[in-house]
Symmetry: C2
Subunit: 397 residues, 2 copies
């Protein structure tokens, strides 16, 4: 057994890690936010990463993949406003040049870069390199780092937990994260950096990061688009000497799930967070197909925004998803309210009124029981509002 | 060889067919549009239909499928405002009851029904049956019929062609159609009724309707949702005694393609129509996957609305679609303007200005050449505006 405590702040809670962010003019004045940031460790860290499924992976991802398997690093450089994607070989060369410049200011070992922003433009070397003399390399300024990777995000995303084991030892895990749009279950347009001082074996890092990603970032949808830069990295410097696999699993699952929910709450133009639970499917894969179809459907999303208990769009989306389904065994609930069943197909006034009340909540659950088997899956989505259109029609301006 | 002439109006141009529409109060006053309509033929017609791929097919589709293969009909009844979908066995029983009532007013043989509107409510028998004494069964009022099936449509959709063959004989083909939202390449939320007096064999009706549907309604996307009611029907009364397969193929392909483009132009909240041509793909299937991903992407659609030549979203969507692609062989054009190639990755001011001008057009073409093979496919989409959200958030109110 173990105890898990929530801590204030983010990366600052993990021993041996330092971070800071500065503004070098990539984000327009009068932005107070930084646009270039780093996370570094006193000692070399094991690192595990998961990247976007997009075939056009951005230059920082290609650069990462140049390192041998099981390399260690002590430095992550991050920037906003430019994704360094679709920039070809030049995009990777620019990263090498930046790190050559960085070495003049601070010793680094196998440094890693991570970028977010507009696709199709090369990095401004001069501006980004100007950060290297501005950074406080001994700062533990998690908030500045978290704010520096924000793009359309409305709020910073950082979390930290302390895990106390029965043997009296303890370790910490913390993360910062960005993401608000271009969010799809096949990983979101997001960057997430998790640090820990747990004495975790590399094999466990691989296994548990995959599991945590599948249970969190791979289940959320703002708009069904998958970016070129999606990245989650786990860095372990092992300095606490403490570790327990089940405790770490729970902490990592919790930190990634909560960050994923923060991304959804910050979904571009989103006003509501909705869980789409599909159960009673023929198998888990079919439940997943239907659940993700629901969290991606424009008609479902606009009905959520309109607070319209139009369950027909839920049913139609399940029917269109191509899975096995039968309208005589299907039931639909909003939270605990039965909205549709074979016996009660039309929504009477009383249930419609109750549905309105549920839909006015900032979050609720839609449960679709197909009544055909044991398969289940839950994904998480948000509504689609005028502001989504505004944000994305005007993104580059 | 043959000549194809465009005719004014719609179904009124085809010999032996009659149609009308009336308002029985399903559409709220002061709507001038009808809400119940019919198409009938003096003589029994061969009929071919294609229906939605949605697993929850609406009651009128189930009712149609009760007839034996190769049945003939002389009457189609249509209504708006209620899809008669997810209504179970009662939904089909309601159709039988309506046709029993209709027989008291007009002789019918194997009548067919087609409905569009909200999902999940039973038809109002009394109101719909009240149309039977209001219809002018000898009218050729195509416009009234076309307007009676409109839901969120902004304009009526009807077309007609006359085909003159070299032997001096001729036949006509005409159609009415509805659709504006819930439009997906796997058939749109649409109803389309095509009539002809061509002396076409039943086997050709089947073959040519499949081909025409694949080349038209299966290639358009407003929002990626597939409804429970999508229907296209072809009725042939053969009274002209004239027929030529190639001429009929061209006329049917043309009438369905032009109606599909009318649906897109009327796409809920749409301001632009965009063709997404993908070529140079490894095969046609991969080209289709990428093309449809483009016409469905929210980020592409909002960039179109914002008239933002943000080709990064085009590239990212192709990369996310899972097909084989390589950013060093990819080129992207807007009409004839090269927007992206391996040699010209960043958009300079001059080309950006030219791109703005193209994007201000009401329609243009995005061509993505993957440079990998011979596969090609074109689908058609529209932009996503504030009005799409407004229309769909407030649909039932």
């Amino acid at each position: 057994m173990f105890n898990l405590f929530s801590l204030k702040g983010g990366l600052n809670n993990v021993e041996g890690f330092f971070c800071d962010g500065v503004n070098v003019g990539l984000k327009k004045a009068p932005a107070n936010d930084g646009d270039v940031a780093f996370i570094r460790s006193d000692v070399p860290c094991d690192i595990t990463a998961r990247f976007t499924s997009n075939k056009f992976q951005a230059a920082p991802i290609k650069h990462y993949q140049e390192y041998p398997k099981d390399f260690q690093t002590n430095f992550i450089l991050m920037n906003a406003k430019n994704a360094n994607a679709m920039t070809g070989e030049k995009g990777v060369e620019d990263i090498h040049a930046l790190f050559k410049e960085l070495e003049k200011h601070h010793p680094v070992q196998n440094p890693v870069m991570s970028s977010t922003g507009v696709i199709g433009y090369r990095l401004n070397q001069e501006k980004i390199a100007s950060a290297f003399s501005k950074f406080d390399y001994n700062a533990k300024n998690s908030e500045r780092a978290a704010r520096s990777i924000m793009t359309t995000d409305q709020f910073k995303k950082e979390l930290a937990f302390k895990i106390e084991l029965d043997d009296g030892s303890s370790f910490n895990i913390a993360a910062i994260c960005k993401g608000a749009g271009m969010i799809n279950p096949a990983m979101a347009t997001m960057l997430c950096f998790v640090t820990t001082d747990a004495d975790i074996p590399k094999a466990d890092m691989e296994e548990l990061l995959s599991e945590a990603t599948e249970g969190s970032f791979n289940r959320i949808s703002v708009d069904g688009d998958t970016s070129t830069n999606d990245t989650i990295m786990l860095l372990a410097n092992k300095v606490s000497g403490s570790y327990n696999k089940e405790a770490f699993r729970e902490a990592l699952n919790k930190i990634t799930f909560e960050l994923a929910m923060m991304i959804l709450k910050d979904g571009e133009g989103a006003t509501k967070l909705v869980a789409f639970e599909v159960k009673g499917a023929k198998n888990d894969e079919e439940a997943r197909t239907a659940s993700i179809a629901l969290s991606n459907s424009l008609l479902v999303k606009t009905a959520l925004f309109g607070e319209d208990p139009n369950w027909g769009r839920i049913a139609s989306t399940i029917g269109a998803s191509g899975i096995n389904c039968d309208d005589s065994t299907l039931t639909i609930h909003y939270d605990n309210l039965l909205i549709y069943s074979n016996e009660q197909r039309e929504l009477d006034k009383e249930r419609e009124e109750k549905a309105y009340i549920i839909m006015k909540n900032a979050s609720f659950k839609v449960t679709c029981d197909l009544g055909l088997g044991e398969g289940s899956y839950t994904s998480y989505g948000c509504d689609l509002s005028y502001d989504y259109v505004k944000i994305n029609a005007e993104y580059r301006t």
